[in-house]
Amino acid sequence: MTQQVPVLRLGDALLVSIQVDLQDDDVLALQEELAERIVSTGARGVIIDISAVDIVDSFIGRMFSSIAALSRVLDAETVVVGMRPAVAITLVELGLSLEGVRTALDLEKGRAILDRLIAERRPAHDLDYLDDDADYVPLDDPAGERARPDPSRR
């Protein structure tokens, strides 16, 4: 795709701002590019800004759901931000439910939702576990070839 939609980095997230009327093939290409970028950057979140989008039909709506599902499999979260009121009204009447898609009114609120979702994915006790584990790595077996300690011992 000839970079119809730039994908930018925003901290640990990717920001996609849709500014032009995309044809279906571009929508699919964007979906693929996002999957690749999540993996190559290790991004924890995706923010899709649609504040410049004047219609959301079933095709692009399905793309939002696909990206949300796809990012989840790749250990990232997706939030769609900036939906115009007329678009929201139309979407509901069209019958599109945007299954699995988180939405926020603007970028700032979207970022806050992402932060919360990302934190939920890495619960504090997970980090404790990593620390505990590190304590257990024997100096003569740094790669941990021997039996790992039982993480449930805590």
Partner: protein
């Protein structure tokens, strides 16, 4: 209409016609969304086809009428095709039923083996 670019062109044309008769923003959005669904159906299910968009008048009101025609396979069971969620392919099955809900007038003329023509109209308030 033979490609995805044409669907974009239809959206833009419908938008500018809708603005020319001062449809409200919500009505413009509904009409353009319906047109987008029908244009895509013409392409995906009909193979290719045409779109005709015009300003119409009735009883002192203006409206936009859009007709999408193809000479594709036609629709065997129209009730089924208009059931929200029903799709013969990998879609969501929302295009046809959703488009119907978004406009004021909706007419389908279809015949198996001959093709499909869908006409929609949205009136200014």
């Amino acid at each position: 209409m033979t490609s995805g670019d044409d669907v974009v062109r239809v959206r833009q044309l419908v938008r500018s016609k809708a603005q020319s008769i001062r449809l409200s923003l919500v009505d413009q959005t509904k009409l353009v969304t319906a047109a987008s669904e029908l244009a895509r159906n013409t392409l995906v299910h009909g193979g290719s086809g045409s779109a005709r968009i015009e300003v119409v008048q009735r009883g002192g009101r203006s409206g936009i009428r859009a007709v999408f025609s193809d000479t594709g396979p036609g629709i065997a069971d129209l009730d089924l095709a208009l059931t929200p969620g029903w799709t013969s392919g990998g879609g969501l099955g929302l295009g046809l039923s959703g488009a119907k809900r978004l406009v004021d007038e909706f007419d389908i003329d279809t015949e198996v083996g001959r093709g499909t023509s869908v006409a929609i109209t949205k009136w200014s308030r």
